[in-house]
Amino acid sequence: MASRLGNFFRAISLYDLWKGLDATLRNFFRDEVTVQYPEEKTPQSYRYRGLHALRRYPNGEERCIACKLCEAVCPALAITIESDVADDGTRRTTRYDIDLFKCIYCGFCEESCPVDAIVETRIHEYHMETPGENIMTKDKLLAVGDRFEAMISADKAADAKYK
């Protein structure tokens, strides 16, 4: 009886409804969590795995020695490598393609690389406009590497002590 009476007063005083209204009103005065994307960006880890790049040594020599470990480890079979002897007698890739549609951005290629040639940069804002652009050829990968070498080496240095 007493609990029924209690329920009745609880219902008639709209207690539960006021509680709900209180919750929304408190949130009304709380700071917004929205990130205004193109102008503001959320913090990003130096381990971010985005667009791939092929690196060079500071003297301009390609790091990649065509060992094909990345091709072998790639779980999505996204990497295709063909190799030959270059003019200076070293082993070099003649073809190094990564299909970005197949790639699952797991970072195994970067892990397996003995010379830190293939890396995944923290670039995540890229797009394709025509079919075929999803294939990152050797030239495109090297171009990305050349352009962002400063950022890549800084990220590598930051991560080095955990390896």
Binding site: L14, T24, N27, F28, E32, V33, T34, Q36
Partner: protein
């Protein structure tokens, strides 16, 4: 002010026949009020999106113009240049007349609402009856829209909203009976004047349950969340206006928001002393305009109720249909009848506002 008007204009004005002068004045007033309401509605949509955004930890519109203030105009322009699609099997005439039937009562009711002590377009004695009869007209627009669309969803939405509006109309009417008992008049200006004297004289206090019933019924009447089963997008797409697009849809939208502003204005007039100031007796405020009863206070009260509409929408989930019916018939109507009886006793014993 008068000195600014050149003499020939004054002479011309005085030379006009009485009827024409009256018509000009009234038409100007109607135009001013209508434009004011339409602008209010435009910014109410902006206000709503901001309020709900803030309550959900978001920012709301902020891209069009400074602070996103251009958003309503962008929306209006978009709706105006879109095509009005008329379904092939629909009843064309009714389909196009339905939006008008819902906007006209929402705007026409403003004729009797006193915006300040001096300004009311038509100061008729039976203002409350006029308000009741015109707000009931709004349901025809919805029913006709649902019927003429020749769509099951639209028809179901119309049926739901018709049943709901009829149910809550009764509770609303009873709540207003309480107001007219307390005010002793059907004239809206008279009701406001009966509340003069300060915050403690407002009808809000002796009629608190009626006030709550009135406002909640108003939310149900305008088909707003949490009573928006007429739209119920998870079940019946968008309810009665599924088939509407472009300007026809814009008019329904306008009518819904105009009705919200109207319910807010009526709630302020009936229970919160209309244009009366919140700080009536606060002498330490000096001669500030805040102490003066003015249109500003009515606008502030309307803004508060609009905020309450959005607050409710951001807080509560949609009622189930049978719960809506239960609340309307089994809770609100008994409460109002009980309170009217109690009010009769209070009036008999001369306590409260009848002392």
């Amino acid at each position: 002010m008068t000195a600014l008007i050149p003499q020939f204009a004054v002479d011309f004005w005085n030379s006009l026949p009485e009827m024409l002068r009256y018509l000009t004045v009234v038409t100007t007033q109607i135009g001013a009020v209508t434009v004011g309401i339409i602008l209010t509605v435009a910014f109410a949509t902006y206000f709503e999106r901001k309020v709900i955004g803030f309550m959900q930890g978001r920012i709301g519109p902020n891209r069009v113009g400074p602070l996103g203030l251009g958003q309503p105009f962008a929306d209006v322009i978009k709706l105006l240049i879109k095509e009005v699609v008329v379904p092939t099997e629909s009843n064309r005439y009714l389909f196009l007349i339905a939006p008008l039937l819902s906007i006209v009562p929402a705007l026409a009711t403003w004729a009797v609402i006193p915006l300040s002590d001096e300004f009311v377009i038509s100061d008729i004695d039976a203002g409350l009856l006029y308000v009741l009869s015109l707000t009931s007209m709004g349901v025809y627009g919805i029913i006709l829209a649902g019927w003429a669309s020749n769509s099951k969803y639209a028809f179901l939405g119309a049926m739901r909203s018709a049943a709901q509006i009829v149910a809550y109309e009764i509770a609303m009417g009873f709540a207003l009976v309480g107001v007219l008992m307390a005010g002793g008049t059907l004239n809206l200006g008279g009701i406001v004047r009966a509340q003069a004297g300060g915050v403690s004289d407002w009808f809000l206090w002796p009629l608190l349950p009626l006030f709550l019933v009135y406002f909640v019924s108003g939310v149900a009447e305008t088909n707003r969340a949490p009573f928006d089963v007429a739209e119920g997008e998870s079940e019946i797409v968008a309810g009665f206006h599924v088939e509407y697009s472009g300007v026809a849809f814009a008019i329904f939208f306008l009518a819904e928001y105009a009705n919200m502003v109207l319910i807010s204005a009526l709630a302020s007039v009936f229970f919160l002393g209309g244009w009366a100031s919140l700080f009536e007796g606060w002498t330490f405020l000096g001669d500030s305009f805040l102490r003066e009863p003015s249109f500003f206070w009515l606008a502030a009260k309307i803004a508060f109720f609009m905020f309450a509409f959005f607050w409710l929408r951001a807080t509560f989930p949609r009622y189930r249909y049978d719960q809506i019916m239960r609340l309307g018939w089994k809770v609100f109507i008994p409460i109002t009848i009980l309170w009217i009886a109690l009010e009769g006793v209070m009036a008999w014993l001369e306590i409260g506002p009848w002392a």
